[in-house]
């Protein structure tokens, strides 16, 4: 067991995220690691290839901050709201810089991570056939099924240089309990060369071992552990705080212009030292509004003779 994985966000980003890396901040709507994204912006990382099925607001911010040279994605919208305006501004107008795109469907993206995690050469998937997407993306190819002779669409493995995965709770080595929407968290962790886990709570190893089926990510794929409560706002953490749907709608207004976006960023990203200061800036009213009602699961018996 490696010692000393527990560290700060500043240190984790500084050690593991390099200019030019392919970065995957995991989380399908749930547990999007905004705190890590903000620290990457504060440390002014450049030329990143940002991979995520749904770039969401977090990549919209990183694109506006000039961290990104390419986005690998499957749905570049603000879910339930509309466009990701910073993504579109960079792609359509080159503001603040031109970005490349590499596009898949959701099955394509999650299949790429699965192939990366399981070290497969490629993954056949029943999609893409008949779509105009494959001609635009040379990474989406076909192979002949050796059993039936039919053509089938294949996608290549995705192996990010570094991933950030947020979890509800983990121990100091990174054994992580996750519940609620588990998205592409496990596939991303196993597919990536370096993994930073950020957690709402750091708990004793015995608590993790009391419920091993809930451990989505084991310690030996984890390189750094950061205790970071409220790391995912305006996304959410099941059982800890709800999705700030109001902010998702406000983002549409904030990002109407590059300048208005940067004013928001100057206040909420560059104007704070770390996530703790960000949370301090949030109003009590907002925090209370996001606290969920309790809905506990029944305990199970893991006993043996």
């Amino acid at each position: 067991m490696e010692a000393g994985k527990l560290t700060t966000m500043k240190e984790a980003v500084s050690r593991f995220v390099k200019d030019g890396d392919t970065v995957y901040l995991a989380g399908f709507t749930h547990m999007i690691p905004f705190a890590a994204g903000h620290e990457i912006m504060r440390q002014k990382r450049k030329d990143l290839t940002l991979a995520r099925a749904t770039p969401d607001i977090v990549y919209d911010q990183m694109i506006a901050a000039g961290c990104c040279k390419k986005v690998v994605f499957s749905y570049a919208g603000n879910p339930g709201v509309g466009s990701l305006r910073c993504f579109r501004r960079a792609f359509e107008k080159g503001l603040p810089n031109r970005i490349e795109i590499e596009e898949y469907s959701h099955f394509g993206m999650s299949g790429r991570l699965f192939a990366g995690a399981t070290n497969m050469p490629f993954l056949p998937i029943r999609t893409n056939t008949g779509s105009d997407l494959p001609p635009q993306n040379p990474n989406i190819r076909t192979v002949k099924d050796p059993y039936t002779g039919d053509e089938i669409s294949v996608v290549p493995p995705l192996k990010p240089d570094v991933a950030v995965v947020h979890v509800q709770r983990c121990d100091a080595n990174g054994n992580s309990h996750v519940w609620g929407i588990i998205g592409e968290q496990k596939d991303t962790a196993f597919a990536s060369k370096k993994v930073i886990v950020t957690a709402e709570e750091i708990v004793d190893e015995s608590l993790i071992r009391s419920d091993p089926n809930r451990t989505l990510i084991p310690d030996f794929v984890v390189h750094a552990v950061v205790h970071e409560p409220w790391a995912c706002h305006p996304s959410y953490v099941q059982g800890y705080y709800d999705r700030d749907n109001d902010f998702y709608m406000e983002w549409d207004e904030i990002t109407k212009e590059h300048e208005s976006t940067m004013r928001w960023m100057d206040e909420w990203v560059f104007g704070v030292e770390d996530r703790q200061q960000y949370v301090k800036k949030m109003t009590t009213e907002k925090i209370l509004k996001l606290l969920p009602k309790a809905a506990y699961s029944s305990p199970v018996n893991y006993g043996s003779v």
Partner: protein
């Protein structure tokens, strides 16, 4: 007779298409309301599945996104994103999938990627998300969309999600496991697809709507079913159940 808006009419008509015990892949907004309404009325055992991996959800409020926490509380099961697409969709476990898009054409192909060319588009849209995967694998695709000339086009600018491509003959060659487009429900009527050719065909006109009005809002000459029906107006029971689900009338 009860008053209703054109969105309420679309929700009610879509809900009627869902059968008890079917599994339906639901999006947010109108499809979510339609599925929840069907569950309250004729389909209490409807299995609502979301592409975020929530299976058998029982939301007590309207979700803004398909990954909303209210879809998790009280769900039957939660699986990973890969499992959702591999086990449920590719596994052939989903009967009905709701799709939307900026454009739909006469063979039910859907565009949610770009208006204009791909490399330098007039409008860059969000892209497929799960749409292409859903269209390729569900037994029935249902599209709910306002009936407007800019949305109904003879040929989509970009084919994100396959309908019947250029007709059923071509579509059969692709050997997709899904059943293809089943219904397009608009504010003016219901359109289904010709069994032989796969061409979109008007099968029912909503109350007060003429065939001329539907044609005026469609840029190609529409095929009309031999027996063109009149959509039954929403009943008071349907509208009351819908408003109870969505008191804010989102």
């Amino acid at each position: 007779m009860v008053d209703y808006s054109s969105s309420e009419l679309m929700v009610v008509v879509a809900a009627r298409e869902l059968k008890d015990y079917e599994s339906v892949l639901v999006g947010v907004g109108i499809p979510n309301l339609a599925a929840n309404l069907a569950k309250k009325l004729q389909a209490p055992h409807l299995n609502m599945v979301y592409e975020s991996g929530a299976v058998g959800s029982n939301p007590t409020r309207m979700p803004l996104s398909i990954g909303d926490p209210c879809l998790v509380t009280g769900a039957k099961s939660i699986c990973s994103m890969y499992e959702q697409f591999a086990y449920y969709l590719q596994g052939g476990r989903i009967d009905v999938g709701f799709l939307g898009g900026a454009q739909i054409d006469k063979y039910g192909n859907i565009n949610s990627t770009v208006i204009g060319g791909y490399k330098a588009p007039k409008v860059r849209l969000p892209g497929s998300g799960g749409a292409c995967d859903i269209a390729s694998n569900v037994k029935k695709i249902i599209v709910i969309t306002p009936h407007e000339k800019r949305r109904f086009v003879e040929k989509v600018d970009f084919l994100t999600s396959p309908g019947f491509i250029e007709g059923k003959d071509k579509w059969r060659l692709l050997k997709l496991q899904g059943g293809g487009p089943y219904a397009v429900i608009t504010n003016l009527g219901t359109l289904k697809f010709d069994d032989a050719t796969g061409e979109m065909t008007v099968v029912s006109l909503h109350p007060g709507v003429t065939m001329e009005k539907v044609q005026e809002n469609t840029p190609w000459k529409l095929k009309v079913a031999d027996k063109l029906e009149q959509t039954q107006a929403p009943s008071e029971r349907e509208i009351m159940a819908l408003r109870a689900l969505d008191p804010d009338r989102t």
